[in-house]
């Protein structure tokens, strides 16, 4: 059954793209803005800045006091936040229908007039908060910096995805109010932004309100940079070993993948799922259930747009098992997968699980709005949420085999091994 979520799309004269998807099941509306700027736009010495900037978007703007964005909406039944990632920054709130105008007005104030309120004190405070976020989520957690190490190992120096969104402490320390001004002016502009409204609203009404509040956002001149060209797979394996205070050995095995938005990415996604992402996948069956040398195996494809995506398999090794043996077994299974392609039931299960996961994601207004913004901003396809499953079903076993033989080969892997001290001494 093809999906048929309604999608209405319009571009305002200032360049802001507006997408409206009515859903009258609940008397709420999700307001979701995607700005085409993320950590991939940061330059050397400025890592972590896109995310720090996102924090400042809650610290006041021309007519809004520091913290008021949160308190004004939460106290009227709003749930809201923002996130920063490699490719983009998103801002979102789900509110009762009667709060829509206030939400749009608050978004106008910060997306148009943030700089009126930025101060050194606000920057210093949020710099401290972000440093605590970095400590809490990465530095004080076992394996917490594994993703940072994976990006640095699988992607080349100076590539947009070589460094993590959280950035480095030194670069956070170096951020200045001038940087905030330059960043806002370069990236926060209506023609670099998508606004999606999902919920209890009619399209004409939604467009009128979007125009009323956000139609006056000033346009800015200057061209936006194009995405990087596709990176090829690694030619020879890369390797990093980190020895330290972790409870178990863990192997992170990463691959470069085709960029998101083309059928080869979907084929790579299904290949990852079929080979290692399901409980029934051959890798999981062998390592976890039969030989019991791994506690768990996780696999997923992370779609990016700036020249490459990432395929990642994480194997948590059972106490007493040998990481070198586990990696050898991994290579054997991968080689067999590449030789034969996915079995019919592996493909059937990968599709069935992808379908459920996709429908589950679309079940909530919040996630639906986020996915609409995602494909509208990064791919120019606001209606992609209705098409993805059909495109996924069109991928054949031959496509998966071809793509896997190009991108998921043993020599093209990057391995980041986190090893316990005991294990490193034994090796």
């Amino acid at each position: 059954m093809p999906l048929d979520y309604p999608i209405h799309e319009r571009t305002l004269p200032n360049g802001l793209r507006v997408v409206i998807s009515p859903d009258h099941s609940v008397p709420t509306i999700t307001v979701n803005l995607w700005v085409n700027v993320g950590s991939r736009h940061e330059v050397a010495g400025g890592t972590g800045f896109a995310h720090l900037f996102e924090h400042l978007m809650f610290q006041g703007s021309r007519s809004v006091a520091s913290g008021e964005h949160f308190s004004a909406l939460m106290s009227r039944g709003g749930r809201l936040n923002a996130t920063t990632w490699f490719d983009r920054t998103n801002y979102f709130e789900t509110i009762p229908v009667g709060v829509l105008d206030l939400a749009l007005w608050l978004e106008m104030d910060r997306h148009g007039y943030l700089l009126d309120a930025v101060t050194q004190a606000n920057l210093d405070n949020q710099r401290d908060v972000v440093k605590e976020e970095k400590r809490q989520r990465y530095d004080n957690v076992p394996y917490g910096n594994a993703m940072r190490d994976i990006y640095a190992t699988v992607f080349p120096e100076r590539h947009p995805y070589h460094h993590p969104t959280i950035g480095s402490m030194a670069d956070l320390d170096a951020a200045s109010v001038d940087d905030v001004h330059a960043f806002f002016t370069a990236h926060y502009r209506p023609d670099n932004t998508v606004l999606t409204l999902v919920g209890d609203i009619e399209p004409a009404d939604g467009f009128a309100r979007a125009e009323r509040y956000l139609g006056s956002l000033p346009s800015r001149a200057g061209t936006l940079r194009a995405n990087h060209a596709q990176l090829p797979p690694l030619e020879t394996p890369e390797r990093l070993e980190v020895i330290g205070d972790v409870p178990n050995d863990r192997l992170h095995i990463a691959f470069r993948l085709p960029v998101e938005g083309q059928s080869d990415f979907l084929a790579a996604d299904l290949a990852m799922e079929a080979f290692a992402g399901l409980s029934m996948s051959r890798l999981v069956r062998r390592l976890v259930r039969t030989e019991q040398v791994a506690n768990s195996v996780q696999a997923h494809a992370m779609g990016f747009v700036d020249g490459v995506s990432l395929g990642l398999i994480a194997i948590d090794i059972a106490p007493g098992a040998d990481p070198a043996y586990v990696e050898t077994a991994f290579v054997e299974e991968l080689t067999a997968f590449l030789a034969s392609g996915p079995r019919a039931i592996e493909l059937e299960a990968a599709l069935a699980q992808s379908e459920r996961a996709w429908l589950h994601a679309l079940a909530s207004q919040e996630e639906r709005a986020d996915l609409i913004s995602h494909y509208a901003l990064l791919h120019g396809r606001a209606g992609y949420i209705n098409d993805l499953l059909d495109e996924l079903r069109a991928v054949t076993a031959e496509d998966i085999t071809r793509v896997a033989r190009t991108w998921l080969t043993p020599p093209s892997r990057a391995v980041v091994a986190y090893l316990t001290r005991e294990s490193a001494e034994a090796a």
Partner: protein, 453 residues
């Protein structure tokens, strides 16, 4: 440079009263209660099967057997081997999960509506006829032992374990990990698991929640052909829960020494109510929000927005099946640990002098007016219904609680807070104790003990 004047700040229109969906309910001949929520547009159907049981039923030397049983439910049945059952679930698009809470066992399955019948069939097979294969039993025991090591390495998990051990009486099951300890788990056998399952799990007293778009589905006959065939077993139906006993020396400070930590995880806890509390549970979620539910809440207004010591601390009343806790927790950088702890305690105690009309009204409006959005998906409806059932409450609890909340005023919150917050706290800090142990002692907030991680 703007030529068009910006519109003035708009007014807000009040939200309408909203009620939690009302299910169609029936009791099957085998004793299973079924609640069905038909939610048009929710293409993934969520199933929650709830079996009341308590980890207090576990023998002392076999603690963890209930969790192990739970984790083995999808590892093979009398009809299908481990590999066959795994394949069946995944090929039918089912996401299967099972867990234990304070009130009982819950088995969860999500599936596209077109495959609901398959999911129900597999769900009843997993709960009624698990085979507990010996090789997978051994694997999941090893995996629990590895999980214990992982939890020890994580400051919040390590802190939660120390809190339970300090706050609850050592003789009470609640003082020890739900999923068992190394010494109790290592010797478990498949026979232990099978015996526990046979004695504790059956349809009598159990409940199935079905939530999703059921258009064109004959749900009654699907139910009858699947979970309706679950044979009643002579199992023990868990009696009403009793609150866990607090330790006589619960009011003290334990520093879990985790050298080289760059942050300290602070946990401050005291007793709290369960959701049956009289006159009402309604004030407690509001209190949690006002104290520690947002960046502008009392704690983060100081610790995060003024001082920049933390990414965020949270405070909430956490109900158990009987009794509960009031817990404030979060991480701060090592250097400010003692000062942050002192600030948190000051804020928690200062609140005993009362709450303002504005913050009470804003807290109520947040919780009441976010409810339609929070419960908008099949998953969220099933989850809430399951939580209410696990607490042994009627299914209109959610709506009645929201209605009661609307009617609250500052005096209700003052009384509710004063009833549980006496100024006596169980405090656990996980971090580099050598950096702040003396400063924490100097706060004079109670006996300080340092324990190894």
């Amino acid at each position: 440079m703007d030529t068009i004047p910006n519109p003035a700040r708009p007014e807000v229109e009040p939200a309408q009263r909203w009620v939690f969906p009302v299910p169609a309910s029936q009791v099957l001949p085998n004793g299973l209660t079924v609640h069905t929520f038909d939610l048009p547009g929710q293409y993934v159907v969520s199933l929650r099967l709830i079996v009341p049981l308590s980890v207090r039923s576990e023998p002392r030397d076999k603690e963890g057997v209930a969790t192990l049983m739970t984790r083995l439910l999808d590892e093979g049945t009398t009809r299908h081997s481990t590999e066959e059952f795994t394949e069946l679930l995944e090929r039918k698009g089912v996401a299967f999960g099972a867990g234990l809470s304070d009130g009982g066992l819950h088995v969860d399955a999500d599936v596209p509506a077109s495959r609901l019948g398959d999911a129900l069939e597999l769900l009843v097979e997993a709960i009624a006829e698990p085979s507990f294969p010996p090789d997978q039993t051994r694997r999941l025991i090893k995996s629990r032992v590895a999980e214990i090591a992982q939890e020890r390495a994580s400051a919040p998990h390590r802190g939660a374990r120390e809190l339970a051990a300090t706050f609850f009486d050592a003789g009470d099951r609640a003082s020890r990990p739900t999923a068992g300890s190394v010494e109790t788990v290592e010797n478990l056998t498949r026979e232990d698991v099978a015996a526990f399952h046979a004695s504790q799990v059956g349809p009598v007293g159990a409940t199935l929640v079905v939530a999703g778009d059921l258009t064109g589905i004959d749900i009654d006959s699907l139910i009858e052909q699947t979970v309706g065939t679950w044979s009643p077993m002579p199992h023990v139906v868990t009696p009403g829960a009793q609150p866990a006993h607090q330790a006589a020396d619960a009011a003290r400070i334990v520093l879990v020494d985790r050298p080289d930590s760059v942050q300290s995880e602070i946990i401050v806890a005291g007793p709290g109510p369960d959701r049956r509390v009289s006159p009402a549970w309604a004030p407690y979620p509001v209190l949690g929000f006002v104290m520690g539910g947002s960046p502008s809440a009392r704690i983060d207004a100081v610790l995060r927005e003024e001082k920049g010591y933390t990414y965020g601390m949270r405070a909430s009343f956490r109900p158990r099946r009987a009794g509960g806790m009031f817990v404030t927790s979060g991480s701060v950088r090592t250097e400010v640990t003692a000062e942050a702890l002192d600030l948190v305690l000051g804020i928690l105690e200062e609140a005993r002098t009362g709450f303002s009309d504005k913050e009470v009204r804003e807290g109520i409006d947040f919780i009441v007016d976010t409810a339609p959005g929070r419960f908008a998906t099949a998953d969220a409806v099933a989850e809430e219904a399951a939580a209410v059932i696990l607490d042994g409450l009627p299914l209109d609890f959610t709506t009645r609680n929201l209605d009661a909340m609307r009617a609250l005023g500052p005096a209700d919150l003052d009384a509710a807070y004063a009833r549980f917050v006496t100024g006596e706290w169980t405090i656990v800090v996980v971090g580099d104790a050598s950096a702040y142990a003396d400063q924490v002692r100097a706060l004079g907030r109670g006996l300080v003990t340092v324990v190894p991680n």
